[in-house]
């Protein structure tokens, strides 16, 4: 059985390489939307925060988790909405 640490590190390595491959060809015109889109994705922390905020115990960890849910939701909701708003403005020349 492979220890979890090794497994997780393996995933980390693969996703970093994948990220480089995916993004290095993005044209300059999309850099700002890419950045705010990536920002929204970094709100993924919310997934980790959810289970910490839902323990039902009135302890510090629960409050920290709830705070993390709120902060990460700002990122997720705000990030996707503003990216969409920007991208809706990008138009190709007609004709």
């Amino acid at each position: 059985m492979i220890p979890a640490e090794v497994f997780l590190t393996f995933i980390l390595m693969l996703s970093i390489f994948l990220g480089f491959e995916l993004i290095h060809k993005v044209p300059a015109t999309l850099h700002t939307p890419l950045m705010s889109g990536a920002n929204a994705i970094s709100g993924i922390t919310v997934v980790g925060a959810i289970s910490l905020a839902g323990t039902g115990q009135q302890d510090l960890a629960n409050w920290l988790g709830a705070g993390a849910v709120a902060l990460a939701s700002i990122n997720v909701v705000g990030g996707y909405m503003v990216t969409d708003r920007m991208l809706s403005m990008f138009k190709k020349k007609e004709g």
Binding site: S15, F17, L18, S36, A49, S51, L64, V76, R85
Partner: protein, 450 residues
């Protein structure tokens, strides 16, 4: 049930990757963002199905509060203020990861987990305060200049040593909260110290780097709570931020460490000598030249954002096209305060994206351009970067506007740009200075045309 949740994360990871891929082309970018949002939704729903959750009250409150703030900000923000908004969001992401790291401390005993908790707190904390400072500089609530003081390196080194020391002690004695507080406090201080010596014009690099950190913090938090999807999504963001950072550094011909550790221009004495004289031009005369031009290139810079001139620029562009001229835009990679800043502003003003040329595409065409209009750009069009080895920006790739037949420079006054670098462009024979607020000057040209 647990296996279902894990598979949902796999689906979510796949969708994130697919969404990012689509985000790489203007035609599919909007759909890509949508796919990525769906990926997020899948991951959140999966997380909510976790049977360890007994109380949804605080989760819902967190969602509602955060979501409302995020949605409000996303709707209200002006396109010229995008850099500070992205900076602020980076900071929230970092803080969220710090809190997750801290909260997952309860019950963590393995050294590997403790190390990842420290990393989540450290990266998250410095991302948070660093982003707040970046926000302050970008929105000009604090001065945007580089803050340097004697002994700064020493202070920073001490902070780093302090962080390392308390991080090690924390991993050895996780039950002693004092080390935890030290790590939290010092990483917050370090974020401030890391960003204050960086000046306004270097912000594209800083903001990209903080973007990367916010992803890496999520990644570290993923290790701390043992969750794959955090690691996958976090490292995708981390990689994207690093690539943008690299592109920005390359566009300024500087290494990352040079941007981070030396206030711009310090050390290099500007030996640029300027010859010739400044030749101002008035709107009427500028109009006659423009009316006769058949090829026009517009080079926007941060000044266009400050003057909110993107809409009048578009209007002028249309009038010139009706007049039979070919109009293109040349965008330098570091024009503005974040990567792609100019492109977004011009997109807001309905300029089609295929009319926006990158530096390498516009430079070969420059010799055939009749009139080049520089709006609020300075360093990115400075020929000294090409010609004068004594210039602090020597070697930086620039847009060769001086090779156009005539150059109009729209500028408020003769005050130097960032760090006071002389710009010989203003003194060239084919350059005419159109002084005044960019928006008003262009408005004047529009009135002449119509």
């Amino acid at each position: 049930m647990d296996i279902l949740i894990q598979f949902a994360y796999v689906v979510s990871g796949g969708l994130f990757i697919f969404g990012l891929k689509q985000l790489g082309s203007p035609a599919t970018a909007r759909r890509g963002n949508m796919v990525s949002a769906i990926a997020m939704l899948v991951a959140i729903v999966a997380a909510l199905l976790d049977q360890g959750i007994v109380d949804f009250q605080w989760i819902v409150i967190g969602f509602v509060v955060g979501g409302a703030i995020g949605a409000g900000a996303a709707r209200m923000v002006q396109m010229t203020s995008m850099p500070e908004m992205v900076a602020l969001f980076n900071g929230f992401g970092g803080m969220a990861s710090l809190l997750v790291g801290w909260a997952s401390l309860a019950g963590a005993t393995e050294t590997f987990t403790l190390i990842t908790i420290v990393l989540a707190i450290l990266i998250g904390g410095l991302t948070f305060t660093g982003s707040l400072i970046a926000y302050g500089k970008l929105s000009e609530t604090i001065g945007s200049g580089a803050v340097m003081f004697r002994g700064q390196q020493v202070v920073n080194s001490l902070i780093v040593l302090g962080i390392l020391g308390s991080a090690v002690m924390f991993c050895i004695q996780p039950e002693n909260p004092q080390w935890l507080y030290m790590v939290v406090g010092l990483s917050l201080v370090f974020g401030v110290m890391a960003v204050i010596p960086i000046g306004g014009a270097d912000m594209p690099v800083v903001i990209s780097l903080l973007n990367s950190y916010s992803g890496l913090a999520a990644c570290a938090a993923g290790f701390a709570v043992n969750n794959n999807i955090l690691i996958v999504a976090g490292s995708l963001v981390g990689a994207s931020g690093i690539i943008l950072t690299q592109i920005m550094c390359k566009a300024m011909n500087r290494s990352l460490s040079n941007v981070l550790f030396s206030g711009f221009g310090s050390g290099v004495q500007d030996t640029t000598e300027v010859e010739g004289e400044i030749k101002p031009i008035v709107v009427e005369d500028a109009f006659y030249i423009l009316e006769a031009a058949s090829s026009v290139a517009i080079i926007p810079g941060y000044g266009m954002a400050v003057a909110q001139a993107q809409h009048v620029v578009k209007e002028l562009c249309e009038l010139m096209e009706e007049n039979g001229a070919e109009v293109n835009f040349g965008i330098h990679p570091v024009a503005g305060r974040m990567p792609g800043h100019m492109n977004v502003l011009l997109a807001e003003a309905d300029v089609p994206y295929d009319q926006l040329l990158e530096m390498d595409d516009i430079n070969p065409r420059m010799e055939n351009v009749d009139v080049c209009i520089v709006i609020g750009a300075n360093d990115v069009v400075n020929p000294a970067a090409r010609e004068n080895e004594g210039s602090p920006i020597y070697g930086m790739p620039v847009i060769n506007v001086d090779q156009a037949r005539t150059v109009f420079v729209l500028k408020r006054s003769m005050a130097s740009g960032f760090a006071g670098i002389e710009n010989p462009l203003f003194y060239k024979d084919n350059t005419r200075m159109l002084f005044g607020d960019a928006k008003e000057s262009i408005g004047g040209l529009i009135r002449e045309f119509s």
